[in-house]
Each structure stands twice: as structure tokens, then as C-alpha cells.
Symmetry: C2
Amino acid sequence: MNRPPGMMDVAREAGVSHITVSRVVNGHPSVRPETRARVEAAIQKLGYRRNSVARALKSRRSSTIGVVIVGSELFELPRILLGVETAAKQAGYWVSLASRQGESTTGDLVETLQRLTDQSVEAIAIVADHPLAVEALSGLVLEVPVAVVMSGSVPNPGLSFVEVDQELGARLAVRHLLDLGHRHIAHLTGAPRIFDARARVDGWQAELATAGAEGTLLEGDFSAESGFRLAHRLCAAGTEMPTAVFAGNDQMAMGVLAAFAERGVKVPQDVSLVGFDDMKGSGYLVPALTTVRQDFAHLGSSAIELLVRMLGGDAAERQKIAPELVVRRSTAAPRVDS
Amino acid sequence: MNRPPGMMDVAREAGVSHITVSRVVNGHPSVRPETRARVEAAIQKLGYRRNSVARALKSRRSSTIGVVIVGSELFELPRILLGVETAAKQAGYWVSLASRQGESTTGDLVETLQRLTDQSVEAIAIVADHPLAVEALSGLVLEVPVAVVMSGSVPNPGLSFVEVDQELGARLAVRHLLDLGHRHIAHLTGAPRIFDARARVDGWQAELATAGAEGTLLEGDFSAESGFRLAHRLCAAGTEMPTAVFAGNDQMAMGVLAAFAERGVKVPQDVSLVGFDDMKGSGYLVPALTTVRQDFAHLGSSAIELLVRMLGGDAAERQKIAPELVVRRSTAAPRVDS
DNA sequence: CCCGCGGCCGGGACCGGTCCCGGCCCACCA
DNA sequence: TGGTGGGCCGGGACCGGTCCCGGCCGCGGG
């Protein structure tokens, strides 16, 4: 029943007061080197470790950042989380997790935030896949800095946002196809309630417009299955086949590839294909997939860095990360004879 | 500068003592219903929320479980984490994250564990991809219940383990191939330092042995790239081609598919292919991949449930989860003419 | 009528830190 | 030699809960 040693115990051992121990632990300057050494020896001897709960209670600084995950469809969540955890550790913070799956009533998110602040977290990062999930935040007065990792925004000046520029990514993809000579580019979009999907549609449309090229829009849900289904529909349609397809993400692109294989449509000879995400293994699809890479780890670490700056007094801020086109084998110039 | 209301404030408002407030909050029976109502009204009015840090300090129960992630190569980490978070929430616990990437000195893990217990976590789950990462735990006396999510074990009776039965998974895959009539089954293994990879090799070998079939073993690292490289080597070898390939995981299987496509080897007509994991999209590879499904979310939630039981006084335990073979289009009977 | 008992409630001592404030000692200078 | 200022250290009051212990009051039995 011997509980771990406290500052008092160390103090007794070193023949000083608990205050002095506190000073040593916190690197306070006004302690004589010799006293400091004695205290450190005592700490060593007793195996003393500061109780961070007590510290958090008094100082109101818990050194932890809360992360809430809303929506479980986030395929690339792990990479984001990795970035978050790494950056937080770097900055001396812990990460406390809270997720909210399934149906999201508005009050639900607020409740989660509450429970997190009950925990005395110093800041909160929310990673969400669609704005509806966080609309509850619109007018809310925040007790701590909050950063949202999501495309799209919510009208609340206290909120920071981090996102990769989805529209730019889409433009990059379409521009690449246009440069290759394609004049009819279909887009198989992801679930429209997800902002990323909408932004990609916008980018696709905008780029198409600048070139005066033709487009076909089909609506899926980011799953490989939907890509598969949509690609079949594309082939079956009475209308003219596009010469290029821009899939909502790499998963959908996989579905497209599968459908085209069944239909005998050759990629990239018959139609070019571009994905989005650059998921693990995309380079080893057949053919290797041209896609738009999003740096998810960077997304996560940026959110934390933003939060740390806000903790330092900076204002909320909006940050866009540029995605990167990676050209592989699934895109080529359209056939001249078509 | 008005800090949030405390029990004292509520007590004053309700005309009772802070003790009674505590009793109400904790659902203690001996409070008159009428008093309880008055206190609850006061709580409502002031928007009181219990300070969980103070609670943790005094009661030594933080209601949080620490999770340490060691090694970042865990492809399916997110699904595990999801299971962890869900189960923890279910049981009324928070999840505090700590990861340890890169090179792992032995003391490093112990330090991470220490920092976690400094946080007063009540239990710890470690998810690791290879036993070396946690060897530091072998003789350690644990302050709190610890469960390891990993194949393989470490000689420490205080530790619980949760794993999916990799060997069984491998046997399922090989058995399927054997049943189809294959007599020469190559295995492209993942990084051998990872225990999962070794267990799969064992299963493959054991099943081969019972059938007296032939095998070829090539060593990769779980990446699509390594699958690609190894498949090429398989084709280039002077020796006879196997009629079936069991890849270390679905990523490697993707690489194999890519290599076979270049070589003009048809799957499953020329050679059958089985993967492992059933990653997202595996059903839409060309051809749809036969693979072994691991239920990662279940893995995570099992770990938490185990921990909760240990918190309740149960002994450490070892738990194996059975994987499941999912047969798709990449496997078929070998050609009779070969 | 008194005592005992049980339901309800309050006093107050912690938990293990942080931090303001104030006191000691000693060197330095007038 | 006395004053003073600064470096070093300690006392003690919190932070906001939990929980042991003990007091009050009303009721039933001896």
C-alpha cells in the first residue's frame, strides 16, 4: 500500500522543502547548483515522478489536446492521426481521443466537446469528413482553441481550419488530362454531402470551362463498388464515351478499372483514368494509377501547430495545403482516330 | 476571470453542503428526493460540470486508458483504433494516445509507459507489429493492467495478449488452394522481423506438409513494391513456376498482380493468388482477390474488454481471434495440362 | 419515557502539486 | 559598522473534488 513518492518525500530525503523540489523539477533558476544536485539525487533515489494530474488541477494546464473524429468513413484517418500525434508530442502535448460515429445529432458534438473540456484539454482538433457534422459549432463560444480538419467551413470566426485544397487538386488532374488532349472528361464524384467531393466537382467544372471541354458527371460515394457501378453505366450509356475519367478517389478508380476490365475497355489506350488520394498501392494497380496526392500526415501536424500557435495567443486562421499530381501509367493522349 | 462553477457554488445555490452535491452527482442513495431535485436544479442553473481532473487526483481513477502505438507500418491501424475507441467509450473510458515511431531503444518503451502512468491512466493497451518492439516488457513489473495487441508473446505473466490467429489464416488460405488441386504453392512473405509474417510462414509450411505439397518461399516486406519484385523473380527463375501464390498481404498481392500483368501471366488461369487482410478495395482488384479477412476493429475492442476485465480483478489472458477466408475470383483449379 | 437505530446530511482532512509572499543570509558600499 | 539589495529558500493557501466520520432527528420497542 505504499503509494508513489511525492514532492514531500523527495524534500525530506534531500533535506529541503517541497517548494525547492518543485523549483528543481520545473527548472526554476534560483536554486543553488549544489542544492539542485542534492534534490536531483533524491529524485533519482526515490524514483520520483511528478503527478501530472495534480499539476493539471492547480495550474489548469493539462498539456493535452483533444482530438475528435467524426464520421468513420475517413479512409486516410490513420495518416492524419499519425501527424497529429507526432506534432503534439513534439510540442509537449498529449492526445486524448474521442470519436463520434453514426448519426450525428447537433447537440451530440457539443456534448463531446464538453466532455473533452471537462477533461481540461487545452485545445481541440476536430477531424471531420463533412461540414454537416460540425455545423453545431457555427455560433458556439469556444472555451479553448479549436481547429477543424476538413474542407468547407462553418461561420465561426473563432475556429481554425486546415484542409488540402481539393479544388486545386481537381484542377491539377483535369489540367493534366486537358494537356494530353482530352476534350471530354467524365467525373465520378464521391458522396456529395462530403465537402471534398463538392470541391473536386467545382475544380473539375472550372477547369473544363476554361478549356471549353465537355464533361459528364456521375454520382457515387467514394467506394470501389460505386466506381465499378458508375463505370459500367458509362459504358452502357447511349451517349458517346468520354476519353478520360476523373474518379472521386483511388478506391473508386479501382472500381472503374475493374469495370473497364470486364467491358474490355483498355486504360489508358481507350480511356485515361485519374484518381485522388494516392493511397497505398496505387502505384501497383494495373495500370499504375495517375492520381493526386494528399499529404495527410502534414494535415494532422498542421492542425496541431495551428492549435499551439493559438494557445500562444495567435488568432484563428485558415490554412490550405496544396496537393500534388503524380503522373503514372493510367493517363495518355486520346486516340487520334476517335 | 470567472472560473467555472464548482461544487461549492452549486451547494450554496441549493442551500446544501458540497458533500450533498457530490452525492447527487455520483448517484449516492442516501439523499432525499426533494433535496436531490433542488441540487439538480442548481446544477442545471449554474451549468455545473464535474472537474474530472480533481476527481482523478483524489480518487486515483482517471477513467482513461492509454494506448501506445509502436511502429508506424501498421497499415490497418485505423480500424484497430476505431475498435479501441468505441469499446473504451462503451466502458466509460477515455483514450489517451502515445506513439513511438522509428528506432526503438528498449528503454524507450518503458519511458513511454512511465509517462502514461504519470498521466494516471488506469490501464494500457500496446499495439505493436513486432515482438522486438515490446521485448522491454519481458521482466517488468507493471503498475497497471497491460494488454498487447500483437502476434507473438513476451515472457511476462502479467501481460494480456490479443491477436488474430495468423497461422490459422495461412492454413485456411493454403488449404483452399490445396482443395483446388494445387501442388506447388509459393509464399511471398512479409518482413520476417514481424511476427505475423513468421506465423503465416509457419501455417503455410504446416499445411503444405500435411498435404505433401511443394513450396517456394520468397522474402519481402509487406509492400506492394516487394510483391512486384518477388513476382518478377518468380517468373524469371529457372525453376518451375508454382501454380499458386500466397502473398504476405493484399498490398503484396497487388504488386504480384502488377508483375504478372507485365509478364502476361493470367490470374487465376495460369496461377492462383491469395492475399491477406481483405483491405478496402480488394474485391475490386482485377481479378477480385481471394484473401483472408482479419477483423481489426474486433481486435481493438477485444483488447479494451480484456483490460476492463483485468481492472475488475481478472487475471491476464491470451486471446486469439479467428480470421476468415473470403473466396473471390483470383483462385481456381490449376490447369490440367501443366 | 428513554434509548437505540437508521436515514439523511455536514465538517473537515486529504490528494500532490503551484505559486505568492515573506524571511534569511551575505556581500558590497557608504 | 550599519544599511541595503538580491539570491536562495520555506510557509502556507489554494485547485476541486472524495470520503471517513460523526451529528441530527424521528420513530419504534422495551
